[in-house]
Symmetry: C6
Subunit: 292 residues, 6 copies
């Protein structure tokens, strides 16, 4: 099937960092299916954008019925992630926030990548704070704690552990701890061989906890210092279901949103670029970029 003239492969390529050959093939296939479903004779940029989102985040699950309460919890949760990112200098900028379920996630906050190969301690500390933004928002604004933050907590713990055990970014100094069977850059190990003493294990636990607590406190300070903004983002999410980068920015800057536009047609030319989290690349498995 031919590709329409509006298709800009450069833009597509920049929006798919970390895609494996299989991911790309998958995306092209999905785009062709989308065009066929629409009875188009050409695959358009619009089809490619839909296909890319589907490969990156899993299919939208509009049929998945959330209760009003769960929509509200999800909105605050995602607003928490988005606001922490927006307030921190070292974070990747927010690209899109949505409370439409996709794959396993009830909502997703997506970041713009800038193709880094190196991650500084500040960047990773900010990431920790961003990951806790959801749980903190639930605690501060809804006075509750839910299982929805389980995946964020797992990723934050893994990241903090890597900072201590792989990157020498704690008081334990520039050593690695534990032997991994398969080492992928900033990625997840398949199996791990413990080669240190119990004494060192206690210190590792302490340093991991310190990093995690610091990220949690950072998130809390940010959200408690911007209560109005968070509530506005959550409200906007409940109203519109999706917010793009510029909309989040307007709200963070204390401005009003322009009137709603059709939410799911990305044909306005905005580049849809998703930022896979470091070391959790698309190529590394079938894991959808779960709700962060």
């Amino acid at each position: 099937m031919p590709v329409s003239e509006d298709t800009n492969l450069n833009v597509l390529a920049r929006g798919t960092p970390g895609f494996s050959g299989a991911d790309l093939a998958n995306m092209v296939n999905e785009a062709a299916l989308s065009a066929a479903r629409m009875n188009r004779k050409q695959v358009t940029m619009y089809d490619f954008e839909l296909a890319k989102d589907k490969v990156l985040m899993g299919a939208e699950r509009k049929s998945m019925l959330l209760s009003v309460e769960e929509k509200r919890v999800t909105a605050y949760h995602e607003a928490g992630h988005a606001l922490v990112s927006s307030k921190r200098e070292h974070s990747d900028p927010v690209h899109k926030v949505t409370i439409i379920p996709r794959g396993m996630a009830l909502g997703v906050t997506v970041h713009l990548p800038d193709d880094r190969h190196n991650y500084t301690r500040e960047y990773l500390e900010t990431r920790l704070a961003m990951l806790y933004g959801g749980r903190v928002a639930e605690e501060v604004f809804l006075k509750q704690m839910s299982t929805g933050a389980g995946n964020d907590i797992e990723r934050a713990t893994e990241l903090a552990r890597s900072m201590v055990c792989e990157f020498g970014m704690s008081r334990l100094g520039p050593l690695t701890f534990g032997k991994k069977e398969e080492q992928i850059f900033l990625g997840r190990e398949i199996s791990q061989h413990r080669d240190y003493s119990e004494d060192t294990a206690i210190k590792i636990d302490g340093e991991v906890r310190k990093l995690v607590n610091q990220g949690y406190e950072t998130a809390k300070n940010i959200l408690e210092g911007s209560r109005d903004t968070l509530q506005k983002i959550a409200a906007a999410l409940l109203e519109r279901e999706v917010l793009d980068a510029s909309e989040v920015l307007l709200l963070v800057d204390g401005k009003e949103l322009p009137p709603m536009k059709s939410p799911s047609k990305p044909d306005e030319g905005v580049q849809q670029v998703l930022k896979p989290e470091p070391g959790r690349g698309i190529a590394k498995g079938g894991e959808s970029p779960a709700r962060a």
Copy 2:
């Protein structure tokens, strides 16, 4: 085989959350068999209800002979589960209580689901109390302790451990502990890699124990504060073998039950909806929803 006009697929669908394709096929098959056994030319809603219960809870085992003593223990045990659920705000509502053996269980207490995807700490704490309702009822009213609570205890311990190690709901803070080989949402891990120190293990044990004890004490307070109600539920179970939601409610409200109706014909149109426990979905294995 044709489906009778009374069959309401919407109601059936709402009553089978968590059913896999195989479960659904199994249910349809059982319904057809049931109709055939009754020499009906159509599969009726009644057949579907029987089939659904069988898939969810295992076949009724009316041939399994319980002694009078075991019937009595089972009645108090299930009454304990049902009463704790009925007295707590955050619990799923009780749907049905039975002391007819099904699968491996001597009795079952079933809850109405409401399709949650997120579980709050209050919800999970209430679940812990509900799980201990059976053991506590035996202790308080029969002055005994039996192996029948083994499965409840196992599920409560697993849940409390998840709250501490996966969901950051204890004083250990928002960290995960242990690496699972296969992670299914709120589900059961196949194998677990311990990646923390002995020191942390001691703290985890302490937090798990605290949650468990709290659930146990909650159950005890409820049952000791409603001794009459519990004994009435147990007595009604011994007399009727099955109590539906409205009957449990009447008893909890201190009212009398209407005269007995035929216990196993759900053709009065009540929606038979079973609530699989979070993370222990039907799709996850052949485990029958053991007596809770």
Copy 3:
């Protein structure tokens, strides 16, 4: 081969609780073989009884020569089991005691089942005492300790551990400890995953030990309080090799036994019912119900 008129299938069925299909097939086969060996044209109730004992306890090994000393030790050992059972309210009643070797065991004490599905703490504590009856009898009456109690000790330890780790029947409270790969009711796990701290392991060991010691002391108090009775049972076993329920009862009541009858012909119509120990059912493996 036809079945004789005297065969009462109901009685047979009640005497084979826990039999799998394979066990039943095995029993029928053995009964036919027994009839053929006797040149009978019909399989009689007598053949079925022999066959059932063989499937349950293994073949009699009359050719296995025990020294006089070993016969004596075995008689005291089995008398110890039988007397503890007879003196305790919560025990299953003794059905038969024998010092004819069967399978791996030099002697066997068999109990009458009553088809329980639930086991109370009192029942299990009595079982512990019964299991230690053999070792204690050797210690108190023969002033020796032998390897013959090894299997009793193993089963008692497993039972006490289950009480602590599966059934919440110790001061550790209503928690489970350890993840089993395959869980069979009150049965034996194939492999176990330790998911608790060393600190908890110490407490578990302590509680297991307490239960075990309590069972041992109970057995000791009973046997030391009924020295004459035990010696009479042992003497009767040495004389007759098998004692049935009524004979054990007579001796426990301080009465004399009637003159000896032919020991191995169960054609007097007594129902031969063996009680498999909970969770160690026939269906669970090829384990013979070793000398308890």
Copy 4:
């Protein structure tokens, strides 16, 4: 090939306790080969005796050249085993002592079995002392310590561990410790699952050590109290290479040996009965009854 008239199958049968069918087949085969090598037309009792020794202890290795020093060490070592056995009431009686290498062993001390099925603590404690007889003899008489006792030490440690962990014969009381994958009576486990705390492990180590030390001290007291006898046995072994039961007894009783007879012709009708160590039966593997 026909069997000679002098062959007494009863005597053979009593001399092969623990033989599996394969062992018996092996023995018959070896006997036939022996007869053929001698150009006999019949298999004689003599052939059977040779064959039995070969199956039990491995082939004689007369071609294995030992230095004078090693012969001397072996003689004292075996004399130590033999003398401890002879001086202890609860031991199986010595049947034969040899310093002709067989299989992996430089020498062997063989005991007369008496077909026990039960082993008392006294019997096992004596066995421990017997096992240390060899090492102690080297230490006391040759002022040396050698690797030759490695197998004795391993067996003694295993036995002491079984006494503590399987047979409830220590201050740890009547419990088992550790789960074995395959349990063979008093035998060796294939793999062991540790199910107790470190605290208990320390106590187990202490009790095992106590039993072992006690066995060692017993052996030392016996050998130091009978220095002359031990030296006479060692000297006789160096002269004759094999001593039978009566010869050992004469020396233990302080008497002189009769003049040497041909050492390897057991046609004097003495029953050659070897005692496999408990739980280490012939049927359990290809392990030769190493030098004890």
Copy 5:
């Protein structure tokens, strides 16, 4: 394809220590491909040099776009490695430093080998310092810490651990600790069996940490004592992308670099010899000599 006259096989051979047969075949193949790409009829020394670099370090990835910031970080990082090497007597001399990405690495510092088979403690200590040169340069000059040093840290930790556990070069004395399943000289073990106590594990951790800290401090002292030189090397790298041995030496000696020449044509006859790190030979796996 014929080989050109300029090809000096001796020089090639000296530049490929540790090459396996497969590596050599691979190199020859790559050289032929390079010649073909250039439409040459002969394989020249230039082709062999390119091919060797590719096999040793992975293909150049000129298409991999680094941000200006990442180029700068990489330049300081590699300058740190190079300067530590240049200032230490026991180090292999630096051969080449590059910030052109190759394989997984953003930059590489390569050393001249001298075919050692034995490594002294001084040599290994210097290696530790060299490995930390990159991280220290980032910390001292850029006031940051990044994940880019992860691989250096891992290699340094492994080396320090080998010094303690394999080579007896710490206060723990001349013992080995841990059993490796496959031992390759100074290489990496596939799997390791811990055969020492927790107490010893604590001491090992302490000694490893001491060695690592010492290497880190040495690197810090060198770089802080030569701030100007480091900045000049980093600047030159940013300008030229590759520095050869003589260029590094000029800068270390405080002199100016001659005007830039074409960076990637090694036809000036300089011998391109790369030094694989001890025990991490080319033959040992497909690991590219990551950025050190």
Copy 6:
């Protein structure tokens, strides 16, 4: 191919203790190849000697270029081994010392076997000292520590551990510690099951360390007490590359060496007998008798 008349099979047999059938076949093959290479029609004793050395120690690697410095280190290292052996009564006598690389080793010290089957504590302690002779020589005379002693250290640690854990030769007494999956006499275990407490593990580590330190100190005392001799042996090795037993003895006795003869022609009839280390027999694997 015929064997020459000068071939003495007895001498060959005595020089190949521990050879498996495959080793012998290998040796005969190598001898035939050697004869063929020399265009001889018969295989001579000389060919057999070369072949035996090759099978035992690996092929000579004259093409392996060592630097002058490495030759010097190797000479002192081997001189250390040889001198410790020569000065200790309980050692096997030195047969040959060489600094010609063979297999993986840069040099080899070979001992004359005397076909022991038993090893005394004195013998093993001397062996420990001999193993440390190389490291100590480097430390004392070259003031350095190198990786070249890694294999010696590993073997010494294993030997010391066996003395403590298998042979009851430490203060821990006559017990074994740890279960081996495959036990080969004094050999290496494939996998080991730890069956003792952490407390015992600490004691084991302490005893192993004591034995190792004692061996190290013994070596140090010997070498520091014979500085001249060691330097003369090292010098002779550097000059001649190989020293035979008589040459080492002359130097140890303070005498001068006779003028050099052709080093690699063993046709002077000296029996080339190599002593494999106990429990590390040729038959046990392809391990070359690395530089000791």
